[in-house]
Symmetry: C2
Subunit: 358 residues, 2 copies
Amino acid sequence: MSIFKDNKLQNTPVSELGEFGLIEHITKSFDCKNKSSEKGVGDDAAVLNFSKDKFQLISTDMLVEGVHFDLSYSPLKHLGYKAVAVNVSDICAMNGVATQVTVSIAISNRFSVEAIEELYSGIHLACAKYNIDLVGGDTTSSTSGLVLSISVVGEVNKKKISYRSGAKENDLVVVTGDLGAAYLGLQILKREKEIFLENPGVQPDLQGNDYSLQRQLKAEARVKLIEVLNELKIVPTSMIDVSDGLTSEILHIAKQSDVGITIYEDKLPIDHTTMNLARELNLNPIFCALNGGEDYELLFTISQDHYEKLKKDVDFTIIGHVTDKSEGNNFITNDSSSHPITAQGWDPIINNKKPQEK
Amino acid sequence: MSIFKDNKLQNTPVSELGEFGLIEHITKSFDCKNKSSEKGVGDDAAVLNFSKDKFQLISTDMLVEGVHFDLSYSPLKHLGYKAVAVNVSDICAMNGVATQVTVSIAISNRFSVEAIEELYSGIHLACAKYNIDLVGGDTTSSTSGLVLSISVVGEVNKKKISYRSGAKENDLVVVTGDLGAAYLGLQILKREKEIFLENPGVQPDLQGNDYSLQRQLKAEARVKLIEVLNELKIVPTSMIDVSDGLTSEILHIAKQSDVGITIYEDKLPIDHTTMNLARELNLNPIFCALNGGEDYELLFTISQDHYEKLKKDVDFTIIGHVTDKSEGNNFITNDSSSHPITAQGWDPIINNKKPQEK
């Protein structure tokens, strides 16, 4: 109810637009007017122009209990660490270096001082790891659960910034590290929570899944690999971090660069423990690698001139190439058949392969 | 419950420390290490050093439905406007100029696309008014109400920055505009909500209280007065914005500047409509001016050399002076008696004057 009667609003559900649609819808009426606003909404970070040789970068994330994390299997310390790390990852995705962070929290009265200390001990660890300073924030009450809002500030040499929009035809598509493990870590945690809820006396069985659990609970930003690219004198023509899933990020780069992208099943970097765990959980490891999300690896494109520099480095995998836009975005499976990459991601069920649990 | 058993946390309620105590407790272990981190937690904004002549400023606020606002009497458009304005006010309080803002929202499914458009129309208005650009944000689901997190970026000439910590003995204490109206506006809104809840057919009676309602619902940042100070070549020795209430802000400046502050009842700027409305609501107008909060005026100290420049300007009121720390913080009432200013604010009840409704 509102005591103000003047607004007769229509009632279109947000689900009709989706998150990306809603953001596009809301922000289309906002233009940047200040000369220090180099680039606003639409990349991993906003780009500010306050100095001669470098751009400043700012990115922000909001994490809501029950939506982005479940405190029954995300320890507060891990949550604090991850919240900072994933924001640093956004700065990496601009080829930048994170320098400061602000942390705001809304907490209900079920959180004690000691619980908040746990959360901040994780934030502290991440700040130390990534050499960034906590410079501000806000602390307030919440009527329900925990809400975290993190903003990170960073810098990048103006000549080295990588937007999502610079991929060129014939560029190589590269991804760092390996994919799919974080998603499987989440499945393990969900499984153990179910078992715990049914049998509260049973201790969680997390043994043997260290890698995927660590990838889920203690995400890391790929700052070292940004340094490696810098040493190799490679400036990606476009870059994004893998937060929502590889296919989703592929589509962002393709759309914003106005190109097509083709990637290959047999090139996808998947750790052997991820392969084994996926099979154990009756999941398709390729599906996990393509759509799982939360890997916080970097997906980028480079000129073919740099091929020799990266081809032998195990931290980087060339998974495809950039085409003309008219060719669309395609995933080539091991049987050499081509499947369009859609906003829904590549799903073995949608693609009429053997149905497996999603 | 947590499926992780390793943490045996104690259970100290946050109320034992209070908000300021909690922030101090949490942030004491965080040091700034990057040379671009000029000043971290503890002022109206963090101060970043990315360029030669100017500092960059960043401040952030989190607003939670049911804690900071009540949508039954805060229209979404007003809420969006105010959320930006109060952040711009933090940049003003550093003697700076706001340039960019990021807005993150968590929304439950009771918010329609049209409701979010209303919110952003207010944000848009504020961006236009203050000449700032919306450059980023995050949009996510919420399990309960609406949560807003705003970060604002600004700039200030390095020679003109005003911290809370620079007040000197014999400086004059100045406040802009007038005090207490925003608090009374809130009381009117609360009263009308009560009446509405008892008699849903009754239209709210808001007539005649335009000024206090506007001060509550459409807070403004004092950017024009920062420009005036600049034109007058006055750099405040210390500055803060009046968000929590005058006494609370007086204590912040006194503590951080290591001085005492004395202010006078007969100097407090109170609009005549505030005086009348306070009496109508059976409230002490002096109490409202001292403790009400949300006026978003600027409280600052200046060298006595600037006295002549400000004494005739109605937008600025000299309300007291800075003393040695040993004299403490005092409020001198019209009968010339001195009352210590405490963290609880100056309350006519606590101070044994005629008891009135708080």
